[in-house]
């Protein structure tokens, strides 16, 4: 994995709201086809980091590179980079005034010149990938939380992105749905060749799918370590806080 060129590089990134610093001096890179998990306790800035990575927040200090291009929200270059993103939000964040079908179809209508019939076929296929075939005519409010989340994923992969971001994909899902989602993420990586960044603190998911995991520590306000979660857990030389997190504090 690591011999692949880095797709995403983060250099000295500081996350802040106003004067309040959430995380400082973050340095990491994500390789092509890698599944990177960002983990850490509640309130450590995981979701904030994700917002910076997708350009919803502007970095005060530090740089983010996609390939060789620097990513700065607001520039036309950033819009080009963004076209390769698929983002799945914590709550699904489906557009509530549109049906499921229209939700998935909108990015396709917006960015491609495909005829309506082809868009219909594509949308139906994406919905069937997340197990929602036949639900296209439903409004988001008529679906359960887990279904909304999966529909959000179908929308995120509508444009066949090569970088996928997930914010807490399995939070609030039952263990089986969560497992299916993990499998789907692995499949997407293999089939689309996508690079995947996941914010989560579900240990089962972390061990099942992560190639590497970045631990954000709320006390020291920085990333403590970056590596394969199994190795981090087994290696006695890795940070005690991280091993405690990965073992649910069982070694206390």
């Amino acid at each position: 994995m690591s011999n692949q060129p880095a797709t995403i590089r983060v250099k000295n990134l500081t996350l802040a709201y106003g004067d309040y610093t959430v995380m400082r001096a973050l340095n990491f890179s994500v390789h092509k086809r890698e599944i990177k998990v960002i983990m850490g306790g509640s309130g450590c800035g995981k979701s904030t980091l994700l917002k910076h990575l997708v350009g919803l927040e502007r970095a005060k200090v530090g740089e983010i590179y996609y390939g060789d291009q620097r990513f700065e929200p607001g520039t036309s270059q950033a819009e080009g980079i963004r076209r390769r993103f698929g983002v799945s939000f914590q709550s699904g964040a489906l557009w509530s005034s549109m049906t499921l079908f229209e939700n998935v179809a909108l990015p396709l209508e917006h960015y491609t010149q495909l005829p309506a019939s082809e868009i219909r076929e594509l949308v139906e296929f994406k919905l069937s990938l997340v197990g929602l075939a036949g639900y296209g005519h439903r409004m988001p409010s008529e679906l359960s939380g887990g279904m909304q989340k999966r529909a959000g994923l179908a929308r995120a992969i509508a444009l066949d992105p090569n970088i996928l971001f997930f914010d807490e994909p399995s939070a609030g899902l039952d263990p089986l749905s969560s497992r299916r989602l993990d499998d789907l993420i692995l499949e997407l990586r293999d089939a689309l060749g996508a690079t995947i960044i996941i914010v989560t603190h579900e240990l089962a998911s972390i061990f099942a799918i992560a190639d590497s995991a970045l631990f954000l520590d709320v006390d020291s306000k920085t990333a403590l370590c970056d590596g394969n979660p199994h190795e981090l857990l087994d290696d006695p030389s890795s940070n005690a806080k991280v091993r405690r997190f990965l073992s649910r504090g069982d070694n206390d």
Binding site: G55, E79, A93, W95, L106, E109, R155
Partner: protein, 400 residues
Amino acid sequence: MHGSFARYGKRRCEGLFSNMSDTQQKAKKADWGTRRKGGNFVVHFSGVWINGEPKPSADTLRRDIESEPELETLHLEADHLTSWDSSLLVAVRQLCDWADTQGLRTRLDGLPNGVQNLVALSRAVPENKQTGEDTPDDFLSNMGERALSGYRGLNGYFEFLGQLCIDLFAFLRGRGRLRGKDLLTLLQSTGAQAMPIVALLSFLTGLIIAFIGVIQLQKFAADIYVADLVGLAVTRELGALMAGIIMAGRTGAAFAAQIGSMQVNEEIDSLATFGISPMQFLVVPRVVALVLMMPLLCGCANFLGIVGGMVVAVAISDVTVLQYCNQIQVAVGLNDLAVGFFKSGIFGLIIALAGCYRGLNCGRDASSVGLAATSAVVTSITWIVIADAIFAVMFQILGI
């Protein structure tokens, strides 16, 4: 201390000796006895420590402990505790915290195991002293903060207006990226669906104006001029104003709430991650729909206001329908109608701007959606009235 020990002792003695059949009754009361043992100060809990039952005063106990010289340890124990709940836990916890500030060690081993464990658990994670704000809280810095946030708000508003102008031009040049279906739905909801309420209220307004007018004008036998009164008042002012105020309450609030709840659900964020500008996708169609529909609603309000006036004029004075219509035709010129239509278009713009701006700047929780809707209505009605006043002066000077 001896005095207070005697006091506690006395109370317990009363409990024991005054009335033996009352023992059960007295045992129910939460109480603590105290005694000194070397460097130890022992507090002995007894009775029923249940929420809602009377409790002894902690201040008295603290004063007693403070008055003791050279104490090292505060020892809490309880052998004759009848029953307890959180009430005892709170008392123990507060006593422990207070002892910490006094530099006393605390020993809880005389208390029931459950109490020891829960109190230890509640003290395990230290209290968060960080409030998140480290700005000083005095008059000058508050004023400075407010001025800065006002300045930022103003900047944000100009940014919003500028971006909207760019996107509106793009829309007019046919380069907009909005969905036709959305625009049609908005035209329906701001136009056809708003018509009944606008019609009803303007009919009644015309009626009211005519009532006042007819009664006054009859004194001078000038009943027919009620048509002038109603016609001019409705076409120049009231039609547009009524439509504006109704739409501010109905549609402006709806815009703010819709966009605000989209903000709460991260829907705006997800639009942005697809590179779809919320301005083009949400604000432009709303502004266009309302600016197009308001003059139509104003026309409807004008017509029904005049009809309302006619009903009263015909019913309570000698004016006939034909006379009334004739007089309206003489009194109301095309410029009066144009003034009303023009104003209603501007009011539509004000309402749509206020609603969308408040919605986009809504916070991330449910209560801020309510606030956004409220402030959208207040802002738009305020600006409608201000604009109307400016127009009144302007048209006077221009002689329209």
